[in-house]
Symmetry: D2
Subunit: 143 residues, 4 copies
């Protein structure tokens, strides 16, 4: 993994720990591939458990990658104790991936006081765009 | 499970077999709860593996339920050998579910010659709306 | 117009006045067709100014109808001075309308303390579904 | 207007003629600002007719800009006689614009045999991101 920005609100180890502490994320065995301020790229290694019956990597697996990559991208800006929650996610499934890893890159596009908006892309190792996602979060304030 | 419509293009057992044959769906242990023509309701039993670190059922788990429920809803109309693929999915996360089953009901809203559009809702057992989804599919023709 | 619910936070005349006071809405000459608590149905009369070059009623016209119908549906619950703003809108274009009025029915699905979610449908006079919309709003608090 | 790419499937004049020939687009008085292969940027001059009652440029006006910019971006690739139709559009409203022009830049992200996917951004003249859009089209074949 390459870290581009010394100004992150978390360390690499923090992000890896978050992945470990997330039961639903463990299904996918995500690997941190790149982190910068407001950006995170994850590798989702191929495993048969992600396949549809026709051998294509399932939509829910791609959406899980986008969800987690965006969550970590936000954490690079707001820190690991930030209280945020996704409110909407839209995905366009553009190509099929078969028996191959998925690289998902998420980027915070706008970090507002109450809302966060970002975009994520799932690609294969040849760079083919598999899915494109937009994600909205709200920020919650501590009571 | 209750079947409302004798006119289904598949049997209940077909649908259960499809769930068994789908590697990614096995993660969620979906149970068929209701089937009618163009409709499918699944129960996703609670399991800790679906949780986020804060104990809320994860967004990807809800999206997986919607994806699979819609897929089965389409199959009730087109049969189990239909060639279809999701092209877009949009989800609004409306409430949180904690340590509880999710009931996801999907319905085909429009079945066109080349496109299919449907809506799905995830609720808890008290009927609280947890997430609302819209899903687009394309129909592929055999070569 | 038929009013179903005496419990509206506004009168019909309030809603008509809002339409008149909205510069962008005047383009479409919307007519109130039905109002109930959390629901609003508008008629958008056909006019050539809404057409694409191929004679189909344009997507932006359908989205304007959904935007305004949902806004009025929210106002039936929160009153005309409510501070709200749309945050996301997703539209599926399902059929074409040609030289015909559009009837757009919007309904509040969830009215939360900070967020509002609703669904709208555009149909022609024969009931054919032309477009389906989901809309998110945030509620703003007065300073 | 600046043209970056000699390889366009249309001329600038073709695109301007298309805008003139589109009844619904005339409402917005769009100006071609930039064209390249698979890209189009339009300026939507401020006019009071686009305002909401609170003086903010309306969501439907932003969505119209994105719809038209994407349509022209596709035409730069496929030519002016291409048979295409939008199937979905999702918009995130990120900031407010008041009494100012909107610059909308659309880009084809994937041009497939049967589907087209693109992204559009509405900004003000200071570059503030006002809205972000994703748009799906299908390609129709001549009979």
């Amino acid at each position: 993994m390459k870290v581009m920005d010394a100004q992150l609100a978390v360390t690499e180890d923090d992000l890896r720990q978050i992945l470990k502490d997330s039961p639903f994320a463990r299904i996918y065995d995500f690997r941190l591939d790149f982190v910068a301020s407001g950006e995170c790229r994850l590798r989702m290694p191929f495993q048969e458990a992600l396949e549809r019956p026709d051998g294509i990597v399932s939509g829910p697996a791609l959406m899980a990658a986008a969800d987690v990559a965006m969550w970590l991208a936000i954490i690079t800006r707001l820190g690991k104790d930030a209280l945020t929650a996704p409110t909407e996610m839209a995905t366009a499934f553009l190509s099929s991936a078969r028996q191959e890893d998925i690289i998902c890159a998420a980027k915070v596009v706008r970090l507002g006081r109450s809302r966060i908006y970002g975009v994520a892309e799932c690609r294969n190792d040849q760079g083919k765009l598999i899915a494109h996602h937009t994600i909205n979060y709200i920020r919650r304030n501590r009571g």
